[in-house]
Amino acid sequence: MRLGLFIPCFVDSFYPSVAIATVHILEHLGLRPEYPEQQTCCGQPHFNAGHREQARELARHFCEVFRPFDAIVCPSGSCTAMVRHHYPQLVDSPVSHRVFELCEFLVNQVGVTDLGACFEGRAALHIGCHALRELRIENAVHTLMRSVQGLCVVPTPSDSFCCGFGGTFSVKFPEISTAMGQRKLGPIRQADVDFVISTDSSCSMHLGGLLDRQKIPRPKLVHVAEVLASGLEAT
């Protein structure tokens, strides 16, 4: 059985620590993930902007690269949902049902609910919209977060709100996108948390970018993979 790592293009470039944490978690469990180096982008930005031909070419490439793998793990709900839900509209996709977001893979496929992670602090939990409503992995994420020692997840009224990123939406309608981000952050800031733990680095980029622009140092944005990899013994 071969386990492939699908690292979204912007995670590869901007958030390598998220991808490295993913590798650490999988290796900690005794798994041997492989990173096919020919992978690029799943095509979601193009697909969402209406450029289906470009998205189709990237989807073809993706399917070819990941064809040999029995399961494919990705530290992003959004990119996973692109492959699982939208690829069948673009290509004859043999890989769609083999792609899993990291948390759902750990809980539903591997059967792990406690990795033995330690992460100190109060945090709000942001499950990205595609993870929440398309993949429906809310339970898996909560299960894993509950097992983390030292972590206190604080529920807030904006937990299920969209962060306002939406890919190209954030630059086509920057004012609405920003307003959505502020609505998301309002209750989180009131909850007095140290971190916002997110399933998706794209949401983190948006929320973190908003806080950074206003020079607000707290809360910090972290990815679920980084939290789950904290305090794990290296293997």
Partner: protein, 674 residues
């Protein structure tokens, strides 16, 4: 950008002080209420599925349904016109109004907003009065509704008080200019005063109107029934009191059977207003008053033939998609410049009015999918937005992202090219503000700092000498997919009566809903006589008596069915001229037998089909669920609106004789003895 310019409109709305707060507060209120109800309905998802099937089936057989519906109307002498365009519809309705009289009352109709009917009628010299509270508020403010089920959602109690002060001369408290001074209770009291002012203002208009215009929630082909849902009682009055009643509806409102209606009636109120059932559901199939149905096409036939997107027409206009939409919540409905705002509007408007005007709406979504999740008829709204985007791009309209995306996709054909591109990021980041896209981002957000090393590089360093692995199946343990089996819906008759009592008493505060149980008819009749003694005999209207178009303090009717899961009662009034005891009384007493109870509205509708066919029932039924109410001012519940302020259900297994109630009890006892 299109002529409509959603982005520009939204910027103005984002800058309007307090707008986003008002819309968030109201939509969150409804959404939370809806979620609570959905949790208590184990068959929710199967209902959604059945509703979708029913609505799609109606589209599949549209022509046949239309013919059946027309035949049914014709048989009862009800007129019907088909209008291809808004102009045609306005002309037909204006002619009908001109032939009857100038005083027009309207109940809420989004289709009339779509064709800008009020303007056409006023041009023709008619006096048009909106009677739904939310619609009245926006009409007085000279605005358009900003939501399909909550027209004044963008206005606060204080905003509305100012409108009523200026337009209706209402005395309002001074604190409205500084609401921070008062507590919630005081604000809620004002909301109540506003609602009652509207009731008083509209009462005369109802009694004097020449023509009533309504929309329709559903048109049932099999029985030729026009179905209307409401809470206030204004639809009962609009459809019954004037000489003529005109129904304006899109051709997409047709459904096949009463059984389908049973499914849809369980979904719509939950999704629209977080209620198990709306206060009044009118089932109209009578020609009294003079009824005329106008069916509007306006692009719908064309959309019906669109195999990918036709299910947009299965929409039941509940507004749930806008309630959960983060874009709608921030900018409100007016930013869309459309009769139908929110996600469904972004799909409908380009088809009704064209891409030139509304082609930017499908792009104005973060694709969060909240709309799709909320839709009671399972329209994949956010997927359809994507389909629309692809079509618009294919047509080759202006697109600021065309070149950046093309560049990106060509770089991403090869990993090595992407890797080289990534190394340019520090440079791109430095000069991002020079491109409009980068500038749009950087206005309110920073870009992440470049990473010291990409993951790809890290992997190459770490895993150089790692052999390709092909280990055992150790990672794949059995998936843990336990699904709790859903509990069956309650339907054992013994459980139904307590459920009915519980649900009915939940419908309003103590003094507005009441249940009385009696074993013997004589005792029940005596109880009713005692209630009648509290009233002037001339202000009591009893079903079966000849009544007039005026106010009554007490109305007494029978009910033919009790609906357990909503606490509602189904009343058969034969035709609308006999409906006064329900709609014009302050207190409505309903007499029914406990054995008439059924689990859901669906069961009652099946019975209705049979009873009407056999002639046992007439052509006008109303499903009454609690006393009349409104929540159009900041979602504050106010009882009453335009109908009764109190509903009493008298349950007695022996048949109660309503015609004996005016006679002294002794006379009846003698009759029994003889």
């Amino acid at each position: 950008m299109s002529a409509h310019g959603f982005r520009q409109a939204s910027i103005a709305k984002l800058n309007e002080p307090g707008l986003g707060d008002k819309v968030h507060k109201a939509t969150l209120h409804t959404t939370h209420g809806r979620d609570r109800l959905v949790e208590s309905m184990p068959d929710w998802d199967s209902l959604r599925h059945r509703a979708r099937e029913a609505r799609l089936r109606a589209l599949d057989h549209h022509d046949a349904l239309l013919e059946t519906f027309m035949r049914a109307l014709k048989a009862r002498g009800i007129g019907l016109s088909l209008a291809k365009t808004p102009t045609e519809a306005c002309e037909i309705i204006t002619d009908l109004v001109n032939a009857t009289g100038k005083k027009v009352i309207k109940s809420k109709s989004m289709t009339s907003e779509e064709i800008n009917l009020n303007h056409a009628l006023e041009q023709a010299g008619a006096q048009v009065t909106e009677t739904d509270l939310g619609e009245l508020i926006v009409q007085l403010a000279e605005q358009a509704p900003s939501h399909v089920t909550a027209p004044a959602i963008h206005l606060s109690t204080e905003d509305i008080a100012r409108i009523f002060r200026d337009k209706l001369g209402m005395q309002v408290p001074a604190w409205i200019d500084d609401p921070a001074l008062v507590d919630d209770q005081t604000r809620n009291r004002l909301a109540r005063d506003l609602s009652l002012t509207a009731r008083k203002h509209l009462r005369e208009r109802f009694l004097q109107a020449d023509v009533g215009i309504s929309g329709a929630n559903f048109l049932v082909a099999e029985t030729g029934t026009v179905v209307l849902l409401e809470n206030e009682g204004n639809i009962l009055l609009t459809t019954a009191l004037p000489k003529r009643h005109i129904v304006l509806a899109g051709v997409d409102k047709l459904i096949e059977t009463e059984k389908d209606l049973g499914v849809l009636l369980r979904l719509l109120p939950v999704s629209a207003t977080a209620q198990r059932q709306s206060c009044y559901v009118s089932l109209l199939a009578d020609a009294h008053p003079d009824m005329h149905v106008v069916l509007l096409d306006h692009g719908r036939s064309k959309l019906m033939a669109d195999t990918q997107l036709r299910d947009v027409l299965t929409c039941i206009r509940c507004g749930a998609c806008m309630n959960v939409c983060p874009v709608y919540r921030n900018v409100g409905g007016h930013a869309y410049g459309a009769a139908y705002p929110g996600p469904i509007g972004a799909l409908l408007m380009p088809h009704l009015e064209g891409m030139d005007r509304f082609g930017d709406l499908p792009f104005a979504s973060s694709l969060c999918g909240a709309c799709t999740q909320a839709c009671p008829v399972q329209i994949p709204l956010h997927d359809h937005l994507l389909t629309m985007r692809a079509r618009i791009v294919q047509k080759g309209g202006p697109d600021s992202l065309r070149w950046p995306l093309r560049l990106a996709s060509s770089a991403m054909h090869k990993a090595s090219r992407m890797d080289r591109g990534t190394r340019l990021y520090p440079l791109v980041r430095k000069f991002a503000a020079l491109h409009p896209t980068g500038k749009a981002w950087l206005e309110s957000r920073t870009l992440p700092p470049p990473a010291k090393e990409s993951f790809r590089r890290w992997w190459q360093r770490q895993h150089v000498d790692r052999p390709a692995t092909d280990t055992s199946e150790s990672w794949k343990k059995s998936a843990m997919t336990e699904k709790a089996s859903a509990p069956e819906p309650v339907d054992s008759p013994d459980d139904l009566l307590p459920l009915f009592q519980q649900r009915m008493l939940e419908l309003g505060p103590e003094n507005t809903s009441e249940i009385q149980l009696f074993d013997a008819a004589l005792v029940a009749e005596e109880y009713l006589r005692i209630r009648m003694e509290e009233h002037d005999p001339h202000t009591i209207a009893i079903q079966g008596e000849t009544t007039e178009k005026r106010e009554y303090t007490l109305g007494i009717t029978r009910a033919e069915m009790l609906i357990a899961d909503t606490g509602g009662v189904l009343v058969d009034m034969r035709d609308r001229s006999q409906g006064h005891p329900i709609m014009l009384a302050e207190t409505h007493i309903v007499v029914a037998r406990p054995s008439q109870i059924v689990p859901t509205v669906a069961h009652a509708l099946v019975a209705r089909s049979v009873k009407r066919k056999s002639g046992a029932w007439g052509d006008y039924q109303v499903l009454v669920t609690g006393p009349s109410r409104t929540a159009d001012v900041e979602k504050v519940l106010v009882i009453p609106a335009h109908g009764p302020r109190k509903l009493v259900v008298v349950l007695c297994e022996e048949p109660v004789d309503l015609s004996s109630l005016r006679k002294p009890p002794e006379a009846n006892r003698d009759a029994v003895d003889r």
